[in-house]
Symmetry: C2
Subunit: 348 residues, 2 copies
DNA sequence: CTGTGTAAAGCAAACGGTTCCATAAGGAGG
DNA sequence: CCTCCTTATGGAACCGTTTGCTTTACACAG
């Protein structure tokens, strides 16, 4: 049926070990034997059985990208697409396969990851975000499995992670609005247990503080990274007596929701409300008006995560002291949603 | 280190075979032993080694989703996201893992698929599209590996495939424009070697023919499933002396390109040009104006593909005569890009 | 001519399971 | 009381590789 190393060995008149050594370019194999065996392998269409190989080498040449929520929900954000794109591209270049796993909740995610890792189906994991409290990270840490976080954790210091400087990013975004003359700026945040939400909120606050602008609690609302949250936030803000003239939204999807709502109410962007958000997903420039966004290099984030993880799998440099936090630069992309604003005209 | 079946056996005072049987709920194990062993497994934190299991069972409980192009390029289309979403969701429900693989070209794809299948790393493959001539399919067919096609092949009859009725879908899309009063309708096609392009083109032609409308070769342009193609097609069409008043585009991404171009030139949609395209990706309703699109149930396509594949892996019903082509229904979603058109007013 | 070093290849024991076959212990039937 | 089944378990081979330890065969120095 399938041709194994033994079949090749028999045909070549050598032992299986010799064939195995030919395969791995062992130095102590004569050129002659090597050539002969290789020819026969080619001839018989031999392909190594990865399972057998993995069994003995305890290595699988594949990594897992684990999603904290059911695939259904998460994938609606283009963010993940970009991330996967980066991960798969890099992994494939390093000769690694990528396995996508997802659970309905944190418990299921833990089960899946544990099964894959303990069952030796993957060598390491790429994790997304970081809740402030995370059983999956605990598991990975205490079992010493290779993993990298896209995002960061505030609980552990020595965790390998790839992230943006979200505080700075939000600072930049907010400052941009300030420089356009806005003085009442609101913030649509994400789930408060996500560090990314808190970092961005912190950056927003820092910018306001820095410019001596008013900071009101009612100008900050929490939501999910979904359109709906934006929609709801919008209607809340627009009903405020002294409403903001500009909004920083934690994710582009949120902006789309805001846009949709504003559109329905015939408000104009950016004249009635200017918007800047984060992530700069491929859609941001397609909406109307196009949304100003902080490009956080999602693809790059994924690419780097994969690279760092695989590097760590290959040589677990547990020497503390090395860099273990990789910061991907961001940059503000100004588009129509925050240009020529009413507020700006006022101040000029 | 890791706890194996033997460790459990030793601690339980039984043989490894007994533990193995407990694991697989073998009927001839006493309830008592079963309970005891299970308790000990739990206690020691035993997780079966998938590699070892796979080695003997020749089964991996995972499938591969193979992408014909480098991940970089392909993933820019939200189509894949949706597809993966469906695949991963269903596979995970069936207890299967999904591996994403991609090559830079057909040859690389073949290599990857062959490596995964012959190396027994996955049990089956989901393939995308179908070129009219496909080495990968040849390989899979002749080696009798389980696989399912998303799309269809015109060369083979007994291939498992999940698809839409693209001819009908294009017919519906075109008829919709015709019913809005358009008489000069153009078509932006995809690569001519893809069957989906040809089917949609055929449906477009059929609709025109059916209504006795003029059919011009210059009203049909070919491109990729990318924004750029739309952009280019747009500038070509708009420079035509007797230009179409409406366009059918083979993919939503193409429409976005058209929209962008039209926007730059200050043309209005749908007044200057009405648009209908295919796939109804999550963005279609977010663009401005929102795009009319044929919803082909991408998620459903992926979900079904996974289901059919796994079913086939579990029990290779090679009885010809069974259904092997699954058709996912489509439906037209009419949005602003094809409503209230100038052309319509003209005829009313 | 014997001893030693070295290159090339073989042997066999893992890796962690599964499964066919054998065995032991009871219980039933003669 | 002795067979014959049945049921619950153990033993061992095997899945396809890798790899440490030998073995073989020379070549060369003493």
């Amino acid at each position: 049926m399938t041709v194994t190393i033994k079949d090749v060995a028999k045909k070549a008149g050598v032992s299986p070990s010799t064939v195995s050594r030919v395969l791995s370019n062992h130095p102590r194999i004569s050129l002659e034997t090597s050539r002969k065996v290789k020819a026969i392998m080619e001839d018989m269409g031999y392909t190594p059985n990865m399972m057998a190989k993995s069994l003995v080498s305890k290595t699988t040449n594949s990594i897992c990208f684990s999603l904290p929520k059911p695939a259904e929900e998460l994938f609606s954000n283009l963010f993940f697409m970009e991330l996967i794109r980066g991960i798969v591209t890099q992994a494939s270049r390093s000769g690694y396969d990528v396995l996508i796993s997802s659970g309905a909740n944190e418990k299921e995610e833990l089960e899946a990851v544990s099964r894959l890792l303990k069952g030796r189906r993957v060598d390491g994991v790429i994790l997304l975000y970081s809740r402030t409290d995370d059983a999956v990270i605990d598991f990975l840490e205490s079992n010493d499995y290779p993993f990298v976080l896209v995002g960061r954790s505030d609980r552990y210091e020595n965790i390998l992670s790839v992230d943006n400087d979200n505080v700075m990013a939000a600072y930049d975004a907010t400052n941009h609005l300030i420089s356009m003359g806005h003085e009442r700026i609101g913030f649509v945040s994400g789930p408060p247990n996500l560090i990314v939400s808190r970092d961005r909120l912190a950056g927003y606050r820092k910018a306001l503080l820095n410019s001596g602008l008013e900071m009101r609690d009612e100008w900050i609302v929490e939501g999910e990274f979904l359109q709906d949250s934006g929609y709801r936030a919008m209607s809340f803000f627009m009903n405020l007596p002294n409403r903001p003239t500009a909004l920083v939204a934690v994710d582009d999807m949120v902006s789309f929701g805001i846009l949709r709502g504003l559109n329905e109410l015939k408000y104009k962007v950016p004249d009635d409300l200017a918007i800047v958000s984060f992530n700069n997903i491929p859609l941001s420039e397609l909406s109307s008006p196009p949304i100003s966004s902080i490009d956080i290099g999602i693809y790059h984030l994924g690419y780097t995560a994969s690279q760092v993880l695989i590097q760590n799998i290959k040589s677990p440099n547990h020497d503390a002291g090395y860099t273990n936090r990789f910061v991907i630069p961001h940059r503000l992309i100004v588009r129509e949603s925050s240009m020529y604003s009413h507020a700006k005209n006022k101040t000029e």
